[in-house]
Amino acid sequence: MNPSTVTKRLAIAASAVVIASLIGAAFVLESPMTQRQRRLDERRLRDIQSIVRSVQSYAEKHNALPKDIAVLEEETEMRRPPADPVTNMPYEYKTLNESSFELCAVFSLSSSYESGRYYGDGYRAHAAGKQCFKYNKPASRNKE
């Protein structure tokens, strides 16, 4: 067989394999837009968690939940309470009773199955749209 025929056939076969694999990958990966929204949702969750930590450390110091997030700004290390990365509106905070509170955020997508375990503790599954999560004031430590 003519050497250049072999080369051509091999090139076509290899390219077919590469293209098929790339198409397969396109099915597995999410579109860049969706990925971006997932990242924003992850950012919102992280923001919420940092607020929760601040609230809980405030509650330990003062033995009461803060009235609103703005109070935290003065007390804790948080320079400015995080806000939604897209709309820039602050996350909703509401005290439910003496020992529990609620934080709300508006999510772009519902959380994917795989993110859950990947991010470990503190991660909460969520649907798209406004979601509220309930948190408890940490039990007060016995001071000896």
Binding site: T7, A11, A14, S15, S21, L29, Y113, E114
Partner: protein, 215 residues
């Protein structure tokens, strides 16, 4: 080594100047126990043109431009082969998940790995095809310098690398079969490595043989 081939060349040059035909020179050298391959190479340095003094043939030389082209071609070849393999491995991992790993974790890390593989393939593979074609076109227009020094070296290096992969692949296959650990997942991976490395090896071996046949 160098001095002996210099001696040989000087001898051939002197003999050709005296008008002795190449076949007689070859016979004489064979009688003197020179290896046939070396005689052929040395005789090949001179063109078969009737001229007052022996006419040297152009030798392959090391040019920076050729070095650049060959290095680029083999680099993109290696990247394409490795990341195609990695992409196929990811598909195998997704299709036949390892029961020891948590499913959600492996999904996430496979996706990131797929993204990387796709990125490399999309860029490196077309580049490889383009440069290969370029080199092939240049070689066909200048048959004198069939494979330059760097081209030959890199081709042999590629043979070595791909052969190592094939050998390692077979070793791991035998090792696992002997251990009774043969799963579909493992077998498919062995197949992927074998086919990719084997194809590269086969193709460039042919290239070298074709090149050597022409000179």
């Amino acid at each position: 080594m160098a001095s002996s081939s210099q001696n040989l060349e000087q001898f051939i040059r002197a003999a050709l100047e005296k008008g002795i035909p190449k076949t007689e020179i070859e016979q004489c050298l064979l009688q003197a126990h020179w290896p046939a391959e070396q005689i052929k190479n040395a005789l090949g340095q001179f063109a078969d043109i009737a001229f007052a003094i022996p006419v040297p043939k152009p030798r392959p030389y090391l040019s920076a431009r050729e070095a650049f082209l060959y290095l680029l071609m083999f680099t993109t070849l290696y990247l394409s082969a490795c990341y195609l393999g990695s992409l196929l491995f990811s598909f195998i991992n997704l299709g036949f998940p390892d029961p020891a790993m948590e499913k959600s974790y492996s999904w996430r890390s496979e996706k990131d790995s797929i993204r990387l593989s796709v990125s490399f393939l999309l860029v490196a593979y077309p580049t490889f095809l383009f440069i290969s074609r370029r080199i092939r076109q240049e070689l066909s227009s200048k048959p004198a310098a069939r494979l330059t020094v760097i081209g030959r070296w890199l081709t042999y290096l590629t043979l070595f690398v791909s052969a190592s992969f094939v050998i390692g692949d077979l070793v791991s296959l035998v090792y696992n079969v002997l251990g009774g650990e043969l799963t579909i997942r493992f077998f498919l991976k062995v197949l992927v490595v074998g086919v990719i490395a084997g194809t590269v090896f086969w193709f460039y071996l042919r290239e070298l043989r074709d090149g050597e046949r022409e000179t």
